[in-house]
């Protein structure tokens, strides 16, 4: 059909507690894993809940799977799976009862993947929700979001409470979902978490979408972290030279050891460093949390 899985235009919602969103233009093509990033309260959940017609935008519009989020919401929800950020499940129901109940709300799309997912995540089905840990409840939440094999899955902070092994399994499942032609939209406050899963990330901050980029571009944006050790006692004389050097940012000093980010041309920076009494240098890719922080500092200035 060619319509993007999600498209918002000028999406705005004036909302209490400053959790609103302003003029969000977002496009997520089908077959992509899109990571929606921002600190708590930035408007991630608000945006997601507008897509599902739980909240109504003040202005602007959103379409999901080519359908209008207001007028065609039932069709959208038919074809979508959703994991709420703050998942509450009826405390007295067992896993089986919860999954049956939610499946009964989708008479047209039977839970064909349930058994496979239950096995995969080793979900405890026979205990009431109140006896399960947060992680185990979250697994039930994941199963219900995927059990009917929806085209689009919207996950709000999906890995919160999951132990690392389960997180790995989750990431595999997400990749499989897009491999099979599905789309995944997931929110997170940690870049580290989505960089292994997402194709692209959008960063939202105080209700505004400040950036959308592929994960590769974001990593490749000259963002290297360098740890530089200079000759003993040379720290004082090196510091002003280092700070004057073009292409580096965020210089941090501990004695004769410096840490900084390379944000410009690496060759130019190396040439500049060549004049210094370097005895060791360690360079590594900045992880996205550092990129994230750098972006934040950048847009806060």
């Amino acid at each position: 059909m060619g319509a993007p899985a999600i498209r918002t235009q000028g999406l705005t919602l004036a909302y209490r507690h400053g959790r609103g969103i302003e003029d969000v233009d977002l496009e997520v093509p089908t077959g992509e894993v899109f990571g929606f990033l921002g600190p708590n309260g930035a408007g991630k959940t608000t945006t997601i809940r507008v897509l599902l017609d739980l909240l109504r935008p003040t202005s602007g519009s959103a379409s999901v799977l080519g359908l209008d989020s207001r007028n065609d919401s039932l069709q959208i929800r038919e074809r979508t799976g959703y994991l709420p950020g703050d998942l509450s499940l009826p405390p007295s129901l067992t896993g089986t009862q919860v999954l049956d109940w939610l499946a009964s709300l989708r008479p047209n799309t039977p839970p064909i993947r349930r058994d496979e997912l239950v096995q995969r995540f080793a979900v405890q089905l026979d205990r009431p929700m109140k006896q399960l840990s947060k992680g185990n409840r979250q697994k039930i939440g994941l199963v219900q979001a995927f059990q009917h094999a929806p085209e689009l899955v919207i996950l709000d902070e999906p890995t919160s409470g999951l132990d690392p092994l389960v997180q790995d399994e989750f990431h595999r499942m997400v990749r499989e979902h897009v491999r099979d032609g599905g789309t995944v939209f997931l929110s997170s406050h940690s870049l580290d978490e989505v960089q292994h899963t997402a194709d692209r990330v959008g960063i939202i901050r105080e209700g505004r979408l400040v950036m959308v980029e592929t994960v590769d571009d974001l990593r490749g944006r000259g963002l290297r972290r360098v740890t530089l050790t200079v000759a003993p006692g040379a720290g004082d004389s090196v510091e002003p030279q280092l700070r004057a050097l073009a292409g580096i940012d965020g210089v941090d000093r501990r004695g004769d050891v410096f840490e900084f980010a390379v944000v410009g041309d690496y060759a130019v920076v190396l040439a500049g460093l060549g004049k210094l009494p370097v005895i060791d240098m360690l360079s590594r890719a900045a992880d996205l949390d550092e990129v994230f922080l750098a972006m934040y500092r950048g847009s806060a200035k």
Binding site: W101, L105, R106
Partner: protein
């Protein structure tokens, strides 16, 4: 079948079946105890004389102006239908109505529910059906208990009158329960639904019972849902059936307003 077509109703009934069972059992026992006392009350013939000597205003205030304990039906009507049975059913249906949408939103389960392909209106209507069914089950228990107790305690209550009286009570429960449902759906708050509906019920009850007493409140009884549930001792004289229409209209209007507000608003998570 029910689960497939009315999932919210079916789940609601499953959630509430335990409290419904205990509530039914409680009201049956209560009715049985009251009925069991009738043979000895009837023996104490002086009681009715005392009652008849009390000023009408005092009786009005006690909600007992048509309390006639010279017959079994009058006794049961005054003891049960004047106050306790309406209170029983209101606690049941206000609780059910307030929990259904407002409660789900407070517990945080409404978000997940409404992310499925079911409209807000359907959720509300199925919840309304749940409240109505709970009220009907309660009414059936009342009728059944009276039917068993009538010959045993020689109450001499006509079956059709007990059906009529219970019907009035059921309609009261539905009208007020739907109001609680509507307030909960319109505001997203179970506690607000309980508070608003509970106070409206209490105030209209008070106005109704004062209406015979205070001149300027003379017409107040017409706004009291209790009046339409059991005015004129339905257990003794039969239910005024058109009163049920007033209660039905009240409930439907409340539900309609609630549906409209629910449909328009942002849900909290």
């Amino acid at each position: 079948m029910i689960v497939q077509h009315f999932p919210v109703f079916a789940q609601g009934l499953r959630d509430r079946r335990r409290s419904l069972l205990w509530w039914s059992l409680g009201v049956a026992v209560y009715i049985a105890v009251i009925a069991a006392m009738w043979p000895s009350i009837r023996g104490a013939a002086g009681l009715n004389d005392i009652m008849s000597q009390l000023p009408k205003s005092i009786l009005d205030l006690m909600g007992a102006s048509d309390f006639d304990i010279s017959t079994g039906a009058g006794y049961v009507s005054g003891e049960l239908f004047g106050f306790m049975i309406p209170i029983f059913i209101l606690i049941l249906t206000i609780g059910a109505g307030a929990a259904a949408v407002g409660g789900a939103e407070e517990r945080g389960t409404l978000d997940l529910l409404l992310s499925h392909p079911i409209s807000r209106r359907r959720v509300l209507l199925q919840s309304a059906a749940l409240v109505a069914v709970e009220a009907a089950i309660f009414g059936t228990v009342v009728v059944a208990t009276l039917a068993i107790a009538t010959p045993l305690a020689d109450l001499q209550i006509a079956f059709v009158h007990s059906v009529g009286a219970a019907f009035g009570i059921v309609m009261l429960g539905i009208a007020v329960g739907w109001t609680a449902l509507a307030v909960g759906a319109a505001t997203g708050s179970r506690s607000l639904a309980l508070a608003v509906t509970g106070s409206v019920a209490a105030i209209t009850y008070l106005l109704g019972s004062l209406s015979g007493l205070v001149d300027f409140l003379h017409n107040a009884k017409w706004i009291s849902p209790f009046f339409y549930a059991n005015d004129g001792s339905p257990l003794v004289h039969g239910y005024t059936w058109w009163h049920a229409l007033v209660l039905a209209a009240f409930g439907v209007v409340a539900l309609g307003v609630g549906a409209e507000l629910f449909d328009r608003r942002n849900l909290s998570n």
